[in-house]
């Protein structure tokens, strides 16, 4: 699917902020499943944007603002083309040893409950890839998907205990479960470009990837109960959501973000695009 993507994020502060630092993971990288033809990230008010590649291979922009700052806009936009690879992720530079993706983080530590659930679900399947499909289906069935991607996600065990969660929460549950049975796993943040399945077309989305021999990295989306298709724009990866978050920021002083005013992804399907499904 070929699309022109526009993302606009706006924050206002109740009290003007004296100074702010932020990092943005809003730049997708190309691989077999997606081609990035043109992409840029911008902020308003203007600031010096520094572009770096982090240890995980994500493109990270960071910038500093001096206050007083009452409102902040972040724009990301570009032309992309995605293909359905049935979730398989090939053609990305892998910078870290696989063992890293077996690390437990506070947000992705499986408790007894989740481990028992996972082992129970997997007892029916022996094929490594089949097991991950089984796990994805089981989690999709057990946990209700409750869109709400603005919040800081709860740790996996909490989300699982409530049997419900946002996409990023369910993805963390999946990651925790997979690592719990020694399968390397990571969390992916990105955009959902489709119109099916979510309330509004175009929103922040998050899913998981696991490493299965001999295929390699392959995505699973427990929120929708499927593998990522061409409607998924893959942006950043991390050990948990915090590591892959589209934005992290810190302000000087006590000012808190009063409201996150606009959070939307516009996908305009251009007349010229040709579906490749």
């Amino acid at each position: 699917m070929r699309a022109s993507v526009q993302y606009h994020f706006q924050i206002s502060y109740a009290d003007p902020v004296r100074a702010m630092n932020q990092v943005l993971r809003l730049t997708p990288r190309g691989f077999d499943g997606q081609e990035i033809k043109d992409w840029r990230v911008d902020v308003l008010p203007d600031a010096r944007m520094r572009r770096n590649e982090d240890a995980f291979g994500n493109i990270v922009h960071s910038c500093s603002h001096d206050g007083p700052l009452e409102q902040l806009s972040i724009m990301a936009e570009g032309e992309i083309e995605t293909n359905d690879t049935a979730g398989v992720v090939r053609g990305l530079p892998e910078k870290l040893p696989l063992d890293v993706y077996l690390r437990h983080t506070a947000a992705t530590l499986a408790d007894k409950d989740l481990l028992a659930f996972t082992q129970d679900a997997l007892s029916r399947e022996t094929d490594p890839l089949g097991r991950m499909h089984v796990l994805n289906d089981a989690l999709h069935e057990a946990c209700a998907f409750a869109p709400g991607e603005g919040e800081t996600p709860r740790p996996a065990r909490e989300a699982f205990a409530s049997r419900a969660g946002s996409a990023r929460e369910l993805a963390q549950v999946f990651v925790a479960a997979a690592r719990g049975v020694d399968v390397p796993a990571r969390l992916i943040s990105g955009f959902f470009l489709g119109t099916e399945g979510v309330g509004a077309a175009g929103a922040h989305h998050a899913w998981a990837e696991v490493f299965v021999e001999p295929i390699g990295w392959i995505g699973f989306d427990p929120a929708f109960g499927c593998c990522p298709r061409d409607e998924y724009l893959r942006i950043a990866l991390g050990l948990d959501f915090a590591g892959a978050a589209p934005r992290r920021s810190a302000v000087f002083g006590y000012a808190r973000e009063a409201s996150i005013a606009v959070l939307k992804v516009d996908v305009s399907r251009q007349a010229s695009w040709q579906g490749q499904q």
């Binding site: 990092v23 240890a55 001096d66 890293v100």
Partner: protein
Amino acid sequence: MKSLAVCARGAKRPEMSSKKAIKPMTLPCFDEMTEGDGAARALYSRIAKWLETSPPGLLDSRRQQAEMLFRRIGITFAVYGDKEAAERLIPFDIIPRLLGHDEWLRLEAGLVQRVKVLNMFLTDVYGAQEIIRAGVVPADLVFRNDCYRPEMQGHRAPHDIWTHIAGIDIVRTDDQDFYVLEDNCRTPSGVSYMLENREMMIRLAPDLFAEHAVMPVENYPDSLLASLRSVAPPRCASEPNIVVLTPGQFNSAYYEHSFLADKLGVELVEGGDLTVKDDVVYMRTTEGPKRVDVIYRRVDDEFIDPLVFNPDSVLGAAGLMGAYLSGNVTLANAVGAGVADDKAIYTYMPEITRFYLGEEPKLKNVATWRCREPDALKYVLDHLSELVVKEVNGSGGYGMLVGPHATKEQIEDFRKKLLTAPDNFIAQPTLSLSTCPTSFLGGVAPRHVDLRPFVLSGSDGVRVVPGGLTRVALKEGSLVVNSSQGGGTKDTWVLETDAATP
């Protein structure tokens, strides 16, 4: 006579509150003052005479004097969760611990080698990973380690120095060998006590001090400053602005942080004093922002930057990691250095030393069985009642087993844990640690000691000031030298003369 099994702590913490439980046994152990027949070693002849000839009560009054002075200067440490006695003194023992010059040279050479290897290991782990590819150290021990920081992978620390200030915990079992009990590559504390103890001894026992040719430690701050200056970012043209970063005055080692800043002649900053703008670190001053070049940070990795690590931390500065990774500021010690001092990695130090240097380690490791290896596991299971079994990365809360002290039930319990997850455990024999004469109310008796020398690494080489912090278990038979568990400290005298010189 007492001897001990030293059981290093569970979850490793960088501060002095690290826990060392030790268990008394009935084996004879090496007393650093006396020969087997009870006569004083030549090294300690003057100390022995001093103890004999001191009028009764003198040691007591000196000890009280020391306590009064320490309290007035405010050399206290905070105890977490203890509101009543939030500021305590670490007991100071007036009888110094002595090392002959020859003994020190052996130890020093070993320390220099050890710290070189630790830095090479860290450079490799975060770089080419040759030691892992060569199969010397298993990948999972490194990359799944709590203290490994994936964020640092591919980053080269300036001058390949990761642990600028290392504290190597040393124990002795005879007059020959020094054993490394533990490496501390993150933010080892205790050096302020090493320096203050010396001041105290000069004040309280001037004659005794004058009779010995004691090598000075007071140049430690100068050495530290030189090391920190040597690793300043290359683009920092003039005199680098160096600061000490403390979590604040409620941290248990706050006294030390302020002491060091003072001796170094640099600012003691808290997270709130720092700002980062466009990858450059500044401190807020009365004259506006001032650029910072080197940060001797006493804040743990997880708290230094809320944009990268713990998002709720206010102990660091947002954007600090960005400034660090882009080379605009040097952090000492480097982020992620802790992976080298993990218990699991410790067991590989002899192999690691051979791998990088092609030479034998000069300091011994305490013998260790890695239960992940089938033969070792078999041995450990067969000898559970004699061994100390410790958890490797201390995150699962399984604790440890002190074989000689455990009931049959506890041993059987532990056997099950061990069999379920052998990878998580290592085992060590019970060591009989050395003792030193120690004074307490109404007498002098041998007490178990360890030693933490401080090793400094800069772009211009490795430095060790002759001495270190001797920690002493004050309770009879106890092996707990930990300050929050009733351990005390002694001044450590490295003499200009050899141990055998009378």
